[in-house]
């Protein structure tokens, strides 16, 4: 047996160096983790004013928060382990819905609801109807016909729009644009065959939307428009998920208590902490901070215009870098010549793209300033220039990650497709791209979350230090979260440096981490499908 014992089998070989290397590697990774954790901890402590709270507050809050959560978790763990994932999903859906509602809200800041109403009614809806009509008859001309109808609708809308002098109330338009299609989708997915039930689901959903527009203002003091958006993005998905779970298995109801327990735990923590504790925390990062404009008074300071500005910029970056980046990657991998003179040029281009990924962001800022502002003559510091400049910045990363994803599709799969007589276009569309999508999406979203934290390029293109209102179009002056944090961290008042800036950092980190979570989620989802 002795030859199985590694210590004696290799008695003549020193394992010291290997051990030292192993422990050094371990120390290096722990150093990184500890330093990052410490940084995050400090920032969170400042952002939520945790040092102001007394020990008894923490005890009370811990009991109030922990007790319901622990009870519920224990119940699920011992009694109903089959409901774990239902509970997790049910808990995640409401906050995700709230974030989604925020995104819709921002969209309506740029394009007024009437814009959506008009084009949805005369372009999108007819196009979908035509597509459905052709698709149900297995007619391959469906996309063509739908596209034609859609374009005609857009053109008509463009000419008709200035002539229309009255419009429905905003909340009615929102019900029509958001709630009706969402209800129809739910009805179709829940009861694909049963017409009667479809009508019931759609009717209930729309009635709920109308009800929300009246109850929202009365109960929580929001405008009817906001109430409808909240209803469509949060309440409808929750109702859908809960309804679907119950319809499937009536005894699964304890799993749906997840969000109630989470809310109760947060409320319980706050209430019990307040009862027991002598002093509570003094959070800077609260609803007021997220929804207010910047101010010279620390108590009124907020991040709202910068948050919306970042969202605008990232929307442009996402569209531009995805379309251009994935297009370039497909060309380089599938179409570009790989041999001869053309192949040499392709290789040179590839090497250069890899090099461009390492160029400092300040240089891209200067490029944006020179190209978009000075040469093309767009305005200094506007949304469009900021978005295009950051697109340039992450384009090389997007191209490289998309190339990797496309290259990882096995050559045999392509050969098999060609062998069955498929054309190159059919092979790319039906075989290569579906398998490459997870990698492409992950790479793009990770690149986007780098772009959202960039400061230097925005300084270079003359983005404003302080704007008091969110942008309302692509030519608006814009600020972004990292810029605002940069400014606050050098403010002459210490409250801005020590409290407000950390709150901005935490907000930025939360947005970035959510984007990374989305990337992981999409990758897992598509990998399961592929």
């Amino acid at each position: 047996m002795s030859e199985h014992n590694p210590d004696t089998a290799f008695a003549g070989v020193s394992r010291l160096r290997g051990r030292i290397f192993g422990s050094l590697a371990k120390a290096a990774s722990w150093l990184g983790v500890v330093v990052l954790a410490w940084l995050l901890f400090m920032v969170v402590v400042d952002a939520f004013g945790l040092t102001a709270a007394s020990t008894d507050w923490y005890l009370g809050a811990l009991v109030g928060f922990g007790a319901p959560l622990a009870t519920y978790s224990a119940y699920l763990y011992w009694k109903r382990p089959d409901l774990r994932w239902i509970a997790v999903r049910a808990t995640v859906i409401p906050p995700a819905g709230l974030i989604f509602a925020g995104a819709i809200f921002v969209l309506f800041l740029v394009f007024e609801p009437f814009f959506w109403f008009l084009y949805y009614t005369i372009a999108v809806l007819p196009a979908v109807a035509v597509y459905g009509h052709f698709a149900t008859r297995d007619d391959t001309r469906a996309p063509l016909a739908a596209g034609f109808v859609g374009v005609v609708g857009l053109v008509i809308g463009y000419f008709v729009e200035p002539l229309i002098l009255i419009m429905p109330l905003p909340w009615i338009m929102l019900v029509w644009v958001l709630v009706v299609p969402a209800g129809a989708l739910i009805a179709y997915r829940q009861a694909p065959e049963d017409r009667q039930q479809q009508v019931t689901i759609l009717g209930t959903g729309v009635a709920g939307g109308v009800l929300a527009s009246y109850l929202g203002p009365a109960l929580i003091g929001v405008t009817p428009d906001t109430a409808v958006i909240l209803y469509a993005a949060t309440l409808l998905p929750v109702a859908w998920y809960n309804g679907a779970v119950l319809a499937n298995d009536r005894s699964a109801w304890p799993g749906l208590l997840g969000p109630v327990v989470a809310l109760g735990a947060i409320g319980g923590g706050i209430v019990l902490g307040g009862l027991v504790g002598t002093t509570g925390p003094e959070p800077v990062l609260d609803w007021q901070f997220l929804t207010s404009a910047p101010s010279t008074l620390p108590a009124n300071a907020g991040l709202f215009p910068a948050i919306v500005g970042s969202v605008f910029i990232i929307a442009i970056v996402a569209i531009v870098s995805f379309v251009v980046g994935v297009g370039a990657a497909i060309y380089l991998e599938e179409y570009a010549p790989q041999t001869g003179v053309g192949g040499t040029i392709t290789r040179i281009i590839r090497v250069n793209i890899a090099n461009l990924a390492g160029v400092p962001s300040v240089v891209y800022g200067l490029l944006g300033l020179g190209l978009f502002v000075n040469l093309i003559g767009m305005g200094l510091g506007i949304v469009l220039v900021a978005g295009l400049t950051l697109s340039l910045l992450i384009l090389p990363i997007v191209i490289i990650s998309a190339q990797e994803a496309i290259r990882s599709v096995p050559e045999e799969v392509r050969e098999a497709s060609y062998g069955m007589g498929a054309t190159r276009w059919q092979t790319i569309r039906e075989v290569v791209l579906p398998r490459a999508v997870p990698g492409v999406l992950t790479g793009t979203i990770l690149a986007l979350s780098r772009a959202i934290g960039e400061t230097a390029p925005l300084l270079m293109i003359g983005a404003a230090t302080t704007v008091f209102r969110p942008p309302t179009g692509f030519a608006s002056q814009v600020s972004a979260m990292p810029l605002q944090v940069f400014y606050w961290s050098f403010h002459q008042k210490s409250a801005f440096r020590e409290l407000i800036a950390p709150a901005g950092v935490v907000t930025l980190l939360v947005v970035m981490l959510s984007m990374n979570v989305l990337a992981i989620y999409l990758r897992n989802r598509y990998e399961q499908q592929a």
Partner: protein
């Protein structure tokens, strides 16, 4: 009449009723698309320029937008010179803040682009020389001593200036040469015949100067009064003797003219043609009116407000320019 039987006709009646009530609801729920004209002023204003004046412009803009919600102001901190060159003179901003007067070169540049700058004084700054809190020996500096400290190729130790002071090398922290504060200090203290010391740590950020000075008992630095006003305990302001005894920087001494030669006017420049737009003119007027506001200029930002007479004379300058463009 009953050709289709009872069922279908009932359906049609229901259908008509449904369409009718939906149409009625739509008509009842309609509203005019015309913009509600409840705010008299609307439009965008861009402000560029000095980082020293920036907090003041930010505070004034914030106040103005409370009164006029349809006006959107963005403020950029670019430095006085950078603002003139890249934003104001090319016509990208309507206002440029400056912590020194506009130069002839900048005036020419603006002229080439058809921008005529109108100079308005918006506050007074007391440029503050600071020392470490433990440096008790540095209780006053004459202007001549200050000049020696900051001259190029000047004395290297404190003892070389005044033999009562420690024989330690001078550590200098100050604004970078792109800053209006640097320009003003060089002009007011060093004059024509002396160059500004090269052997110092230049930075655009006041709190980096403070950190540097906090780090050594033998360090000194200078920056605008606002930062010192908001952080009075972090470092010590050194009183300056311009021949009439030691004077500490404060809102009071700068206002009554005792704090020389380091109190300086802060400006904003407005493009004359932009004043033709009503919201720009109204903001310019508001900016000047607020420049006399003790609560806003002194308490909130930390500069010296304009006197009543100064506000009046600035308003007259503005109104004269307004006459010409309207």
């Amino acid at each position: 009449m009953d050709r289709d039987g009872d069922g279908p006709s009932l359906d049609r009646r229901n259908f008509l009723a449904g369409v009718g009530s939906a149409g009625a609801a739509l008509v009842a729920g309609c509203t005019s698309r015309a913009k509600k004209d409840q705010f008299e002023l609307e439009g965008d204003i861009e402000i560029s320029g000095s980082s020293t004046v920036f907090p003041l412009a930010e505070a004034v803009a914030e106040q103005f937008m409370i009164n006029y919600p349809e006006v959107n102001i963005s403020v950029k901190s670019t430095g006085s010179g950078g603002g003139f060159e890249n934003h104001f003179c090319p016509g990208a901003s309507q206002f440029n803040n400056a912590s020194r007067a506009i130069t002839d070169g900048e005036r020419d540049l603006c002229g080439e682009n058809g921008v005529e700058p109108i100079e308005l004084t918006v506050a007074t700054d007391a440029l503050t020389v600071v020392a470490n809190n433990n440096a008790n020996w540095l209780d006053c500096l004459t202007v001549d001593e200050l000049r020696q400290v900051w001259s190029r190729d000047g004395p290297e130790t404190w003892a070389a200036i005044n033999e009562d002071w420690p024989d330690e090398p001078i550590k200098r922290f100050g604004p970078a040469d792109t800053s209006g504060t640097f320009d003003y200090f060089r002009e007011a203290v060093l004059g024509e015949e002396h160059d500004h010391a090269k052997d110092y740590e230049p930075t655009e950020k006041d709190n980096l100067i403070v950190q540097g000075v906090q780090g050594s008992e033998f360090a000194t630095g200078y920056f605008g009064f606002s930062y010192y006003y908001n952080n009075p305990d972090s470092v010590t302001a050194v009183p300056i003797d311009d021949g009439d005894g030691c004077v500490e920087p404060s809102v009071k001494t700068a206002k009554n003219g005792e704090y020389t030669p380091l109190s300086r006017p802060l400006f904003t420049y407005v493009a004359k043609d932009a004043l033709a737009e009503e919201h720009v003119a109204e903001f310019a007027r508001f900016y000047i009116e607020q420049s006399g506001n003790q609560e806003l200029v002194a308490d909130r930002v930390g500069y010296v407000p304009n006197t009543e007479a100064a506000v009046q004379s600035q308003l007259e300058t503005l109104e004269a320019a307004l006459e010409e463009v309207s």
